[in-house]
């Protein structure tokens, strides 16, 4: 059992947890992730490691409630409760070097996994420009940590309720077009956002890294369920990634594979909601 040390709501249906897993905390590097399983009948789901604390052995994860497992975690797992399985750190760590000027683009829940990377890049001596985006002010989270981690932060919302109106990729294009010399871009968020960012940077020839969130089971290279096409070859996101060169990733395949279990997921969620009618209110 891995005890939950803290739990906080950071946005609508977005929660931050600190889970006690000292061995993972000690070994984790930016860009790596965990696989957790809540209980005996639970699914194994991957979550990015957002932060670690050697003193408490805590690892921070930020979870967006999108389906049965993430919702159940929000409803039923509070401070002091135990998560049955936590395994990690998994995946290859981000390549952190002194590149020069780096733009870090985060969309939606992707802002959380971006945060430790931006921080590490800045610590490595880069000038870090952050661009974070959400649907609206209400959906925006981690603005403060990102502001501290970056030299410069741009906020984008679809409706203009915070920062500028528009998509993160609009701001990315604006900066690249301004003639600023950019050495590398990180983009983490929904697959479609990463795809658009890849297309945005391609004409400028700026190497762009994305973190691939394909459907995973073991997270250790044993099933191939997470495979993605990178430069025409099959790669396992969990061991070869999760970060890949955005200009080589087949995003359309990624998106179609992410949608494989939609019907089952909807059924599982419906069933859960029917059996737990009060669940969602209980914790708000």
């Amino acid at each position: 059992m891995y005890r939950i040390l803290s739990k906080e709501t950071v946005g609508p249906a977005i929660r931050e947890y600190i889970v006690e897993a000292p061995e993972v905390a000690r070994a984790a590097r930016p860009g790596q992730f965990l696989v957790i399983r809540l209980h005996e009948d639970g699914e194994r789901i991957p979550l990015t490691i957002v932060d670690t604390d050697d003193a408490t052995g805590g690892i921070t994860v930020v979870v967006q409630e999108v389906g049965k497992t993430t919702l159940e975690m929000g409803d039923r797992f509070g401070v002091g409760d135990g998560i049955l399985d936590v395994v990690g750190p998994l995946g290859e760590a981000s390549e952190i070097e002194r590149f020069g000027t780096v733009i870090c683009v985060g969309g939606g829940v992707g802002i959380a996994p971006l945060f430790p990377i931006a921080r590490a890049l800045r610590e490595a001596g880069n000038r870090v420009i952050g661009i974070i985006g959400a649907r609206s002010q209400e959906h925006l989270f981690y603005e403060e940590p990102m502001r501290n981690a970056c030299d410069e932060l741009h906020v984008m919302t679809d409706d203009g309720s915070a920062g500028d109106r528009g998509f993160v990729s609009d701001k990315l294009r604006e900066i690249l077009e301004s003639g600023l010399s950019v050495d590398r871009v990180w983009a983490i968020g929904p697959a479609i956002m990463m795809k658009v960012c890849a297309e945005t940077t391609r004409p400028f020839g700026v190497k762009t890294i994305v973190s691939i969130n394909s459907v995973m089971i073991d997270g250790t290279g044993m099933c191939g369920g997470c495979r993605v096409e990178v430069a025409g070859a099959a790669k396992f996101a969990c061991v070869d990634g999760p970060e890949f060169d955005a200009h080589e990733v087949n995003f359309d395949l990624l998106m179609s594979r992410q949608a494989l279990y939609c019907e089952d997921e909807a059924c599982s969620l419906e069933r859960y909601k029917m059996r737990n009618p009060v669940g969602e209110e209980r914790d708000q």
């Binding site: 061995e23 009948d41 639970g42 194994r44 250790t220 044993m222 099933c223 395949l253 179609s256």
Partner: protein, 459 residues
């Protein structure tokens, strides 16, 4: 008069069993076991012993069965084999002990595997005799991977008085026994019982530990451990490398079986892991893994389940019993057939294009090489395809252990007798050394390595 044929084992009716995940063969009763034990000639040459990779004293245990002293029979088996309930169910006896049985030259060989299973199941019903453990040696050994190789090594080392910690990356111990081999062939309760027995001996089993990520072998050896045994198996699924292979609905056998067995997707939505099985399922490959996948597909509701294999029936590498069970259950076989492309709609597979093959001269494996027949393309409709064409070495250890010698295929190079690798104090055995093989061979390697590690620590 010796019965010419083996005492049959009762099994679930095929029509019923395709609707459930319960075990197919039901085991011998005591009388059936004795009838079968009486067929053993007790021949002095006992070729069966040499045919057994761990050298069980087969005539002796069978003699005890015949005398109805089952406890003594179990003890005899356990001297050489720590997992008899598993081996009695999954060993390829027809190519091992039973393949060389003297009686088998004229009649059907003695059903040694069934007798082994009978003894092991008897033990479960009665009080188990736990093996003795030597006094604490003061040494600690790390075992990486809780498959048959690692579990065997752990048990042997513990009995010799060493403190043993097993590190397993999954959330359950057992390796292929829990994530690969289906419930209907090897009930998971049996594996759990064996793992619990090891815990009772004092072996510490830590799950959710990825060596190479959570800790490295170097860290373990620099810390409390005096030696390490690597039994990480051949867990990396291979694909065919043909177009369309990443469409939805195309699974590696490992993924298909892991979802079903380890994650219990067959009980979805009671459990949370889904699996997609279409009306028509094709499984590519001819080994045990392919048979398991094709039979699992039927149980998950496929209307048609077809094995596509590029050689002929004679070359099928699966155990004879598995092929027979698959046929009884209605699995169809498309032999001398090779897939060349998957195609689909909206990102999911719809059909598979194939070529017909013929057999040419024997290749490096000694089997006749399949050669494509020009212009023989045809398509098979399928909503699900399962690729069961073999597994490569599990990658994480290899990537994280500097200086560990591996061969051309990426398997760890280890001494065949001792399991010693080129790194001091590091031993290896099982599928990570030999490539995908068998449970009993992995156990044999784990045992030999444990003996070698014991010698190292005593020195």
């Amino acid at each position: 008069m010796i019965a010419r044929e083996q005492t049959p084992m009762r099994q679930q009716d095929p029509a019923v069993r395709v609707g459930n995940f319960d075990e197919v063969p039901l085991g011998y009763s005591e009388d059936e076991a004795i009838a079968e034990a009486e067929r053993c000639l007790q021949c002095p040459e006992a070729p069966c012993i040499a045919g057994c990779p761990v050298r069980i004293d087969i005539p002796r245990f069978i003699a005890r069965v015949k005398e109805r002293d089952i406890a003594a029979a179990v003890a005899t088996i356990r001297e050489a084999n720590a997992l008899p309930a598993v081996c009695g169910r999954v060993c390829p006896q027809e190519t091992q002990c039973q393949g060389v049985c003297t009686l088998g030259k004229r009649f059907e060989p003695v059903a040694i595997g069934r007798l082994e299973r009978f003894c092991a199941d008897w033990e479960e019903q009665h009080e188990a005799v736990s093996p003795s453990v030597a006094p604490d040696s003061g040494h600690c050994v790390a075992v990486i991977g809780a498959g048959p190789a690692g579990l065997t090594a752990a048990g042997e080392l513990r009995r010799r008085g060493h403190a043993v910690t097993v590190f397993e990356l999954l959330h359950a111990a057992g390796g292929v026994l829990v994530y690969g081999i289906p419930e209907f062939r090897l009930p998971k309760a049996i594996v759990k019982r064996e793992v619990d027995a090891l815990r009772a001996l004092g072996v510490e089993i830590k799950v959710n530990q990825v060596i190479g990520r959570t800790h490295t072998i170097r860290e373990l050896l620099d810390g409390q451990f005096d030696a390490a045994f690597i039994g990480t198996g051949a867990g990396l699924p291979r694909f065919l490398g043909v177009p369309g292979e990443h469409l939805g609905g195309v699974y590696s056998a490992n993924e298909f079986l892991t979802r079903t067995n380890l994650m219990r997707a067959y009980r979805f939505p009671e459990t949370d892991t889904p699996i997609r099985v279409g009306e028509r399922v094709v499984t590519v490959g001819g080994g045990n893994v392919a048979m398991d996948a094709a039979r699992t597909a039927l149980r998950l509701g496929a209307r048609e389940s077809t094995i596509v294999y590029r050689r002929s029936e004679a070359e099928l590498p699966a155990r004879a019993e598995e092929v027979e069970h698959a046929k009884e259950e209605g699995v169809q076989f498309r032999l001398l057939t090779q897939p060349i492309r998957f195609s689909g709609e909206n990102g999911t597979i719809h059909e598979m294009e194939c070529l017909r093959m013929e057999l040419g001269e024997p290749d490096g494996s000694g089997r006749r090489r399949p050669i494509p027949l020009e212009g023989s393309e045809f398509t098979l409709r399928a909503e699900t395809a399962i690729i069961a064409v073999g597994n490569g070495p599990h990658p994480l250890i290899l990537r994280s252990t500097d200086g560990l010698d591996v061969d051309r295929r990426g398997n760890i190079v280890a001494d065949a007798e001792t399991g010693a690798t080129n790194l001091p104090g590091v031993y290896a055995g099982g599928d990570i050394v030999t490539g995908a093989a068998t449970v009993i061979e992995a156990m044999g390697a784990g045992k030999r390595a444990a003996e070698a590690i014991d010698r190292l620590l005593q020195a």
